[in-house]
């Protein structure tokens, strides 16, 4: 299996452990990753300028199309954005023509067909649960995990098509394959609030806090995410809650490939697992 890896802009500086742990885990399943110098997916300029967003997405899709490889996204916001642009471009011929004109400057062309996948798609649909199960040498016991889906892998469903948008269970299954149990919690499908960070900090923080408390109330030991922005948000909000003397438990957030990597017997340090998480996981 071969994909071109789309790390997205936030990973290299803010969440490098997401990329390293994903690479380590994918290596276990003989997945080969091509490294292309992609540009921004376009999500951050979506509110500014429609065409700037579409062109950014299209350029990335054209870059992977050139190599004939499916795209493997780590960040769900990148994933949702790229899928969105792809669907729109396939529907709107005039727009496609215009974008192709802009891509020409870089010698690129919008490809006929490109698969855009998220890490969770790849694990669930391409690698398959039973194959993950086979490599699971160190399953967790008694660990309760709150699956935080992240908006842009569920909604809009006609664009992203990962799972049932109202009652999904693929992420829970992926968590359970590590031996951990997943908890049902009221806010599991809600937004982490990161997209308003820096724009409406109070609202962003309150939404994040609500989620952390909701997961904690449901009896989870930690929250598991598969998105760069969600991880950044929970790290930031968790730290703020502790600083402000939160009385209840402040659940840390773990990236899914870190959780999976541990159950595959990989070294926690190599997966970039922090001290707080280590203690939490009682390894």
């Amino acid at each position: 299996m071969r994909y071109s890896l789309f790390p997205g802009c936030k990973i290299p500086y803010y969440v490098p452990q997401y990329e390293t742990s994903s690479r380590k885990v994918l290596e276990q399943f003989d997945v080969e990753l091509e490294n292309i110098e992609f540009n921004c997916c376009g999500y951050p300029v979506r509110f500014l300028d429609f065409k700037a967003f579409i062109l950014s997405s299209a350029r990335n899709i054209a870059l992977t199309g050139e190599k004939g490889l499916p795209l493997l996204c780590l960040c769900k916001c990148c994933y949702g954005t790229l899928r969105y642009a792809d669907i729109l471009l396939r529907k709107d011929e005039a727009l496609l023509k215009e974008i192709n004109g802009a891509l020409k400057a870089d010698g690129l062309r919008y490809p006929e067909q490109v698969e855009i996948k998220h890490l969770l798609n790849v694990l669930y649909e391409d690698i398959l649960l039973e194959n993950i199960q086979k490599k699971n040498v160190r399953p967790f016991q008694g660990l309760k995990v709150a699956a935080h889906y992240g908006c842009h892998i569920l909604r809009p469903h006609d664009v992203v098509q990962f799972d049932n948008p109202v009652n999904p269970n693929k992420f829970e299954k992926l968590i359970e394959v590590t031996g951990a149990s997943s908890v049902d919690w009221p806010l599991r499908l809600q937004c982490c609030g990161d997209s308003l960070n820096g724009k409406n900090d109070v609202l962003s923080r309150e939404l994040g806090e609500k989620k952390i408390r909701s997961a904690s109330d449901a009896g989870a030991d930690l929250i598991c995410v598969g998105c760069t922005h969600c991880q950044m948000q929970f790290d930031r909000i968790g730290a703020q809650m502790k600083e402000q003397g939160e009385t209840g438990e402040v659940l840390p957030s773990i990236l899914y490939p870190q959780l999976l990597g541990l159950s595959l017997g990989l070294d926690g340090k190599a997966l970039g697992i922090s001290q707080t998480l280590f203690e939490r996981l009682q390894i």
Binding site: Y13, C40, F47, F50, C151, C191, K199, L207
Partner: protein, 566 residues
């Protein structure tokens, strides 16, 4: 006399400029936008930092950085062999010419007592280094003309540097060529240095020099084998110890051959002297202005590579980080490597704001860091460029002079907030919200008919116009995590999603743009997913923001406060 005076004037100007620049490193507020740390404190901290780096094990790392990144410049090789070769040619051509040729009196003559500019290997080497410089410059010009991004970023500073170096090299070669062909010069030399007594010997030497040294005489001497043999004899006795054959000066010799037909004119003293003056004056100009031009990077880029090679910013004092950030601005060579790799660079195609490109954004930083208020009108432009940056860290990893651009951007963001010019999202939101609030409660709601295009499809999305299908079931509002977060959502958000859809149906677009809901939308798509009518609610919110951005992107802070610019 003239040369000495102009040289010393240039040197003094260079000295003053350098001292000024160095002082500015401790005064510029670039790394310290609030100006909290005093210049003397920064100076003391810098001294301590340098002291502790040099007298510690870090010294080994400094040596390593010097060898790999300054001496052999491996980080430029990362950008491809041609880039490395280009810079290597210019840098080493320049350095060797400076040492061997320009500073011959202090370097070459001290190292090699037998040094003469006109004998080999020096005659050859001078041409080699000059040719290296020209080849490098040629590649640089080609790169700037053919590469789209480079073309965009080429500024006066780049043209100046290329032109000055080219003029120095070309005037040098031309001077040498005119000297080669000049019979006047030949005769001056003969009368000054030779001991030729009879006319026959003089003619023979002329013949030999015309043939072997490419001197062009008004009356071509007879070049029979007898006189050539005789000429060689005289040459060996009188000239050979100071003059290698000019073929070694391969560039100048070629030029000499090319100008041979007009040699009698070009070889005149007045032309040779003009070329000489020109050659010197361009060199002196380059020297005098060096601290204020791209050439300053010869000193600052290695400095920044060394500093950032050993500096651990997580443990450094804020004073030192601020100082290094100021030095970094002077170290930028404007090579545009950052812009070529920039993750949001392609966005420039759609949003033509040059400050999206990191190399250009860095250039405006120094203006921002000064207290000059003249830049206020362009602040919104800078803040737009700054806000589009995703802080992906790529520019920092590719910068050939090791500038930690990431930190520059993070401090720029702080500085913009300090200057009351936050990112466009906030500026535009606040302006529209202010107007929304001032309109609220007025007896008559000003109905503005929506643009036709908007009604048809709200901008570009295929399904923007789906708001027409709304029957106000309020599912969108009830499923919105922002709406349900508030006790009194109507007050907090202005209009709720279903009200916005309804407003759009009535064609009230202006009012909608100021509803807090549009700006506090998370983009989570709950509304859209749950809408029984398939209305692209969240997509419409994105498009409303696009519309607001188009209308209000260049609001200055003053306009933003008044809330009246729209």
């Amino acid at each position: 006399m003239f040369f000495n005076i102009s040289f010393y004037v240039a040197l003094i100007l260079f000295g003053i400029g350098t001292v000024y620049k160095v002082l500015m490193w401790f005064r510029r507020r670039v790394g310290d936008p609030l100006g909290k740390i005093s210049a003397p404190k920064r100076f003391v901290e810098a001294f301590k930092g340098v002291f502790s780096a040099v007298f510690s094990l870090k010294l080994f790392r400094l040596v390593k950085v010097w060898f790999l990144e300054i001496f052999i410049q491996k980080q430029i090789a990362r950008e491809g062999f041609v880039r490395w070769f280009m810079h290597f040619c210019i840098a080493y051509g320049f350095i060797f010419l400076l040492l061997m040729h320009a500073l011959a009196r202090y370097v070459s003559q001290k190292l090699f007592p037998e040094y003469q500019a006109t004998i080999n290997p020096f005659l050859f080497l001078r041409n080699l280094f000059g040719a290296m410089m020209l080849v490098g410059l040629g590649i640089a010009v080609y790169r700037r003309i053919t590469n789209r991004t480079m073309r965009l970023t080429t500024r006066g500073v780049d043209v100046y540097a290329l032109v000055v170096l080219a003029l120095i090299a070309l005037s040098g070669f031309f001077l040498e060529a005119t000297k080669i062909v000049s019979h006047e010069r030949y005769e001056e030399m003969v009368s000054e240095y030779s001991s030729i007594s009879d006319e026959q010997e003089a003619q023979a030497l002329k013949a030999y020099w015309a043939k072997e040294y490419a001197v062009v005489f008004p009356k071509t001497p007879a070049m029979d084998s007898g006189s050539l043999a005789k000429g060689k004899e005289v040459h060996l006795l009188n000239c050979a110890s100071c003059h290698s054959r000019p073929t070694a000066a391969f560039v100048s010799f070629g030029l000499a051959k090319a100008i041979a037909p007009s040699a009698l004119i070009l070889g005149q003293k007045s032309i040779r002297e003009s070329l000489l003056y020109f050659h010197f004056l361009v060199c002196f100009l380059g020297l005098a202005l060096l601290p204020f031009t791209k050439f300053f990077h010869i000193l600052t880029s290695p400095l920044v590579l060394l500093i950032n090679g050993v500096m651990d910013r997580s443990k450094s004092s804020p004073a030192n980080i601020a100082t290094v950030q100021a030095i970094e601005l002077d170290a930028c060579t404007h090579c545009a490597t950052c812009s070529l790799h920039c993750s949001v660079g392609p966005i420039f195609q759609e949003i033509p704001n040059k400050t999206i490109l990191p190399s250009e954004k860095l250039a405006v930083l120094s203006v921002l860091a000064s207290k000059n208020r003249k830049f206020l009108p362009i602040l919104p432009v800078i803040s737009e460029g700054a806000s589009i940056c995703t802080k992906c860290y790529r520019c920092t990893t590719v910068c050939p002079v090791g500038i930690v651009l990431q930190d520059q951007w993070l401090t720029l963001d702080k500085g913009l907030i300090h200057l009351e010019c936050p990112e466009p999202f906030i500026r535009i939101r606040d302006a529209f919200k202010a107007r929304f609030d001032s309109d609220r409660g007025k007896a008559i709601i000003p109905l503005t008919s929506a643009k036709k295009k908007f009604k048809q499809g709200v901008g570009l999305s295929l399904q923007g116009s789906t708001f027409h299908y709304c029957f106000t079931c309020m599912t969108c509002s009830n499923s919105c995590p922002v709406v349900v977060h508030y006790q009194n959502p109507g007050e907090k958000l202005g209009l709720l999603p279903h009200q916005i859809m309804q407003s759009l149906k009535y064609g009230i677009q202006d009012n909608v743009l100021g509803a807090g809901m549009v700006w506090d939308c998370l983009g989570c798509y709950n509304c859209q997913e749950n809408c029984p009518q398939g209305i692209r609610v969240a997509d419409i919110f994105f498009e409303l923001k696009n519309e607001a951005y188009q209308q209000g992107k260049n609001l200055t802070p003053g306009e933003r406060e008044s809330g009246e610019p729209l």
